[in-house]
Point group: C2
Chain length 174, copies 2
């Protein structure tokens, strides 16, 4: 699964887009695509990969989200747009587990009507306004059934030893 | 359950803190507490409540997160700090469902060592760096077992009719 973040505005969206990308990586997606250019976002993700692993996690940019969506479908993939106006996740989650490969699309504030009509699914992680970061996290957590939370990456330099209180981190890589 | 956001810095944290607050509301928490002052964050949440309901959702600020935590415990509540260094959520989620009332604590970038030692639980929503927005969302989704996603608020002015494509919103309140 790849996560596509539409309409990134450098400066204004920097932190939220970075959170979306880090969630994509941490919750088991294979890649993150940003519509727009922002070196600071890309550098943040690459730095996390270097320390915490997942060199295989793809980070890309595109200047045209519509083309990216169209191409994904042309290659046989399915596109899932997360929106509070869509069909409830609870009713669709089993179907989502059978669909592959998924391009998971989230917008910034306003997503163009084109996307609603030209994706395979419009799915709502709740029908309330909240956060694209939360939507991506909960979608991935449900589709992967929680298994992603226990992943330790073999190519990480640091690894956390879970603690009841305090922090314990060990160096594992070179 | 209440969600406490530590160390809010106006300006810099505005959007991420707003996302945390909106997630708290949308995923079924009873209240949101911000350490710090930021009228813009409070106004965003109050506006969402006005349109989408949940007038019962409490929004507060505190100038001292430590006192808030101490007082919560003194009143018989339990405090859960979300941190990548804590015990994995998968192993603790059933226990979390039995604990009440919970104060769920998330930091901004760096959380002081005091919190690790003076809370009841340090819980990791994955042991990877990602987002406090995602952590709060997944914690609530797991503890409430997804039921929160189908909530429609009786005091909302607008209600979404889920659609396969497009948007449909009806006016329900006065």
């Amino acid at each position: 699964m790849y996560v596509l973040r539409l309409g990134h505005r450098p400066g204004r969206d920097k932190r939220v887009t970075t959170h979306v990308a880090l969630v994509a990586r941490a919750f088991g997606a294979s890649g993150f695509v940003m519509e727009g250019e922002d070196r600071m976002v890309i550098e943040s993700i690459e730095k996390v990969k270097e320390i915490w692993g997942r060199n295989d996690f793809v980070v890309e940019t595109t200047n045209n989200g519509k083309s990216y969506v169209t191409q994904w479908r042309r290659n046989g993939g399915k596109v899932v747009h997360l929106t509070m106006y869509g069909e409830g996740l609870n009713s669709k989650v089993e179907e989502m587990r059978r669909v592959s490969p998924i391009l998971l699309v989230v917008g910034a504030e306003k997503v163009k009507g084109w996307y609603y009509k030209n994706v395979d699914y419009n799915i709502a992680v709740g029908h309330q306004p909240h956060s694209e970061v939360a939507s991506v996290a909960v979608f991935l957590d449900r589709v992967y059934m929680g298994a992603e939370l226990d992943i330790q990456n073999s190519d990480a330099k640091l690894r956390i030893i879970p603690q009841r209180a305090g922090k314990r981190v060990v160096r594992v890589g070179s």
